[in-house]
């Protein structure tokens, strides 16, 4: 979808203290062999704040950067996360809304796993032109619930904690949202549950075992891969076309933060850009912070000055479902400091 009137006016991030990979290996958390191959230098690990509290901090920074915007103008908060957020039978978005833009903003939890932030930005691109005002998108993640070993649960990533935020407005900003495109194939939804349901929420999380069961019993690998490739290539093609861009026009790619071999695979098979034009430099010292990866990556590019006017930034996401979303923005000015 081509987007004409949506701008980035503020970004925020909260990344807690990191545990270095050597430290994690020495403490027995992280397998030494995995550490050697994964290419992750450190992982952000929260010790006090919950995921929504970190999201609120990131949101406050984004709203502050948005400066000229009255908090009352932010009528909607989309908040996204992957795992448990600190309370049951409870949604986190109203908490984040209350502690960022006030009591009257509508808060909606958006669950699209690691694709959540990009899905929320795409939803905002539909909402803002119709109802006006601004939308705050936040994501907060904490991966230390029972049964989740952040270091070993998934051979394709190491999970980090943290939060990110972005304020999107129809009235101008330092970056323009050019396009957003999503594609889905819901036949693939069973991958992350191993093709079956689990009555015990605290069950040990082992993504490799879940993938094995799913591919054996539900969708064969060849069919799964072809369908996922169709989703990801189709959405990327649409996002680039609607941004009047080619892949060569992209200055930076902000993907999810997998392990280094997975990143290389992504660049070789799906998105032909060099590693130097990705946010791997921040990803390798945060770990995979779920849906917050994209927002922390944007915050990194903007606040370090790596991305400047004229740079186009491609965000690439995929979440259980399977849904893939790509968003392209173009820096039109310097972000407020």
């Amino acid at each position: 979808m081509r987007i004409t009137d949506l701008y980035v006016t503020g970004v925020g991030a909260h990344v807690p203290d990191r545990v270095s990979t050597p430290d994690a290996v020495a403490r027995g958390y992280y397998d030494a062999g995995r550490a050697a191959r994964d290419g992750i230098d450190a992982v952000a690990v929260a010790t006090d704040l919950s995921a929504p509290e970190m999201a609120a901090l990131a949101g406050q920074e984004a709203v502050a950067m948005a400066g000229g915007i009255d908090a009352a103008d932010v009528r909607t908060v989309f908040h996204t996360y992957v795992d448990y957020s600190g309370a049951r039978f409870w949604d986190a978005a109203p908490y984040v809304a209350l502690h960022t833009v006030g009591a009257s903003a509508r808060g909606y939890d958006i669950r699209q796993s690691c694709n959540g932030s990009l899905a929320a930005i795409e939803l905002a691109s539909h909402l803002v032109p119709r109802v006006g005002g601004s939308v705050l998108v936040t994501s907060g993640e904490r991966f230390d619930t029972d049964g989740v070993n952040r270091w070993q649960a998934d051979p394709q990533s190491v999970f980090g904690d943290g939060a990110g935020a972005v304020v999107l407005s129809g009235r101008g900003g330092f970056a323009k949202v050019l396009s957003a495109a999503s594609a889905a194939d819901n036949r693939l939804e069973g991958e992350s549950r191993g093709g079956r349901f689990h009555p015990n929420m605290a069950a040990h999380l082992d993504f490799e075992a879940l993938r094995e069961d799913y591919l054996r019993e539900q969708v064969p690998l060849r069919e799964h891969w072809f369908a996922m490739e169709q989703v990801l290539r189709g959405a990327l093609k649409e996002a680039l076309a609607d941004a009047d861009s080619t892949i060569d026009d992209i200055a930076y790619l902000v993907p999810i933060n997998p392990t280094y071999p997975m990143l290389l695979g992504m660049l070789e098979h799906l998105i032909p850009l060099p590693e130097a034009r990705t946010t791997w430099d921040i990803g390798r010292i945060t770990g995979h912070v779920g849906g917050a990866d994209h927002l922390i990556g944007l915050h990194h590019l903007v606040t370090t000055g790596k991305a400047g006017p004229g740079d186009k930034i491609l965000f690439a996401g995929g979440g259980t479902g399977f849904t893939g979303t790509y968003v392209i923005i173009e820096m039109t000015g310097e972000a407020p400091r």
Binding site: E212, R216, P220, L221, P261, L264, H269
Partner: protein, 89 residues
């Protein structure tokens, strides 16, 4: 056949697999080393399976993470598939 540690596999097998092992560089291919540690990810599973088709077609039921875990497990799957091919009239 080439003798590598305790596994004798066909040269074409190692050549095909090595093409997807970006992190292996010039090292010997240890049959029990995790292939993901050598750079093979889920992105590469389909490429390996497709490239092996010049010699053998791995059946769908063998295209699993456990098959691509090590060179030994992948070679075992290849041998099973080759045996099935020989049995097929």
């Amino acid at each position: 056949m080439t003798e590598t540690n305790t596994v004798a596999w066909a040269p074409w097998f190692e050549t095909t697999l090595r093409a997807q092992l970006a992190l292996l560089e010039g090292e010997a291919l240890d049959p029990d080393r995790l292939l993901v540690a050598c750079g093979l990810t889920s992105f590469g599973w389909m490429v390996v399976a497709d490239d092996l088709r010049c010699w053998v077609t791995l059946p769908e039921e063998l295209l699993l993470p456990s098959t691509f875990r090590t060179a030994r497990s992948l070679w075992a799957a290849v041998c099973d598939a080759l045996a099935d091919d020989e049995e097929t009239p």
